[in-house]
Amino acid sequence: MDFQLPHVDFRVMAPELFLFAWALVVITFDLGTKRRSGSATGYVALLGLVITGVILSITPEGAGFGAMFYNDAGSLFFKVIFLGAAFMAIGSSFGIMERKIQHHRGEFLGLILLSTVGMMFLASSNELLSLYIGLELTTIPLFVCAAFFKDNRLSVEAGIKYLIVGAMSSALLLYGISFLYGLSGTTDLLQMRVNIATTHLTFREIGLLPMLSVVLLVAGLGFKLALPPFHQWAPDVYEGAPTPVAAFLSVGSKAAGLVAFAKIMINGLQVFYEDIMAPNDWGLLVGILAGAAMVWGNVAAVRQTNIKRMLAFSSIAQAGYIMIGMLALNDIGLSSVSFYMFTYLFANMGAFAIVAIFEDKTGSTQIKSYSGLARTSPFYAASMSVFMLSLAGIPPLAGFFAKYYVFAAAIKMAGSNEIHQWLYWLVGVGLITSVFALYYYANVIKTMYFTPDESPYKLPLSLPGSAVVLIGLVGVILFGLMPGPVMDFASAIPAAFGLIAP
């Protein structure tokens, strides 16, 4: 048989290869020092992430392994988000490394780095097989990380729940992928778009198989993104998993799910969301899920007394807002999604970093334990307030502009064609639920500042943890005051997905 290797260029995947090697270095370093390395292992891991970022900035764009590996503006932007999420997650895990997992530092850090490598491969893939491998490399290390406190029932329960849900969602996604492969005869997403477009007439009266395939794909990706009704795993896993892992899940893993969604549904299946397909397009299906996410996430978050569960429901709601932008397939839709994820990185990782520091000191994750924090630890209380306000979308913080861009993109899409007018309703739901969201975010601030303190704790300023909080704080305020540069950077992303002519 005539078989040709595709054009292979390892330079474009240099950051991934380096980070993969560095993950092994971190594990070896911890073993080499007979597990007495102290916090040095953590700094080695952070150093690796910084070097990877530097390599990423000089990596050329282009294809690296046939169609399996692309480096373009979209993948570059999301890789920065993944690296940032890993950096802040590792930075806030020094506390648990000191006290709870001092004999397994290397494995913990190595697994988080490997998961980051998977996310980066996922962001660069443009082909179903490499996309699937990237997705699995992202989630399998996180199963282990979620169950990392081996003697803690909550953590093990989180691990097994995440494993079952993650594997099941992969199976659903794969079953959908197998039908896509059968329908288009290719696993290359760009080729798939062409093949599906040429057989357009048969899809117009949408058949059973394409419909089934789209439903399975949306269900599988819905599990990954924790969109209701596929969200039940998220609060339990976030509550039980170690706090830095929960933070990494809520930002890194969610961004990875978004990338997978954009790759499959927009790169491959954009045809199924074009005007002539209405109302049988995937847009309406995803729109219903996004609406459910905003309503249920925000309503359920109000009732929570545990701050990790509250942040879990808040992240479900945020996924709903992000999906609004994803549904706007125009020149600003995907860049608004990317900007949203970028600001969400700072706000959410910062908030989780404070939760991690608080949990290390007090062992509590109850919101009511935070009472009086403003008096004992003003820096952390003020930072937490800023993060909460940014998540709620209060100007001039970054979260406001993120929500503004997402809504603006959807309104532009809705105005472009009367078929898409239901997007106005979705934006309306988003605006109303934002008000709900303000209630529970403000509740945390109220507890810290105005509730008489029952058991005042003073949180120490420790180097990596406080630095992570500071990074989040600077990011939230800086990109709120001048979102322009990041938006310019993100504005190349829709072109990378072929939504507008480059």
């Binding site: 097989l129 029932r153 691990g159 099941m168 199976a171």
Partner: protein
């Protein structure tokens, strides 16, 4: 070809049913394997009858087998932790956190 797709659909349905109804974590993991194998049958059948030239479907199936094995390994390791913590692997145990 339809026979293969029906077989895969039946397998997938059995797997899904198993994941939802089994009370034993190992049973759930086995049902998950059924779901992955249904996907494999689908991919190989499509490769044989629809897209014959590149062997993408068969390669995909091999990759799924490998990844499913990795997933099962991690899964069994976590099941071991479950057993150590609860002295049992029934799903009724997992009610420390409420849905």
């Amino acid at each position: 070809m339809h026979h293969y797709l029906y077989l895969a659909a039946i397998l997938f349905a059995i797997g899904t049913f198993g994941v939802i109804t089994r009370r034993n974590v190992i049973g759930i993991l086995m049902s998950l394997e059924l779901m992955f194998n249904a996907v494999n049958i689908n991919l190989v059948a499509f490769n044989k009858f629809v897209a014959t030239e590149p062997l993408a479907g068969q390669l995909f199936a091999i990759f799924i087998v490998v990844v499913a094995a990795a997933e099962a390994t991690v899964g069994l390791a976590i099941v071991l932790l479950v057993y150590r913590n609860w002295r049992g692997i029934e799903t009724e145990n997992f009610s420390v956190m409420k849905w």
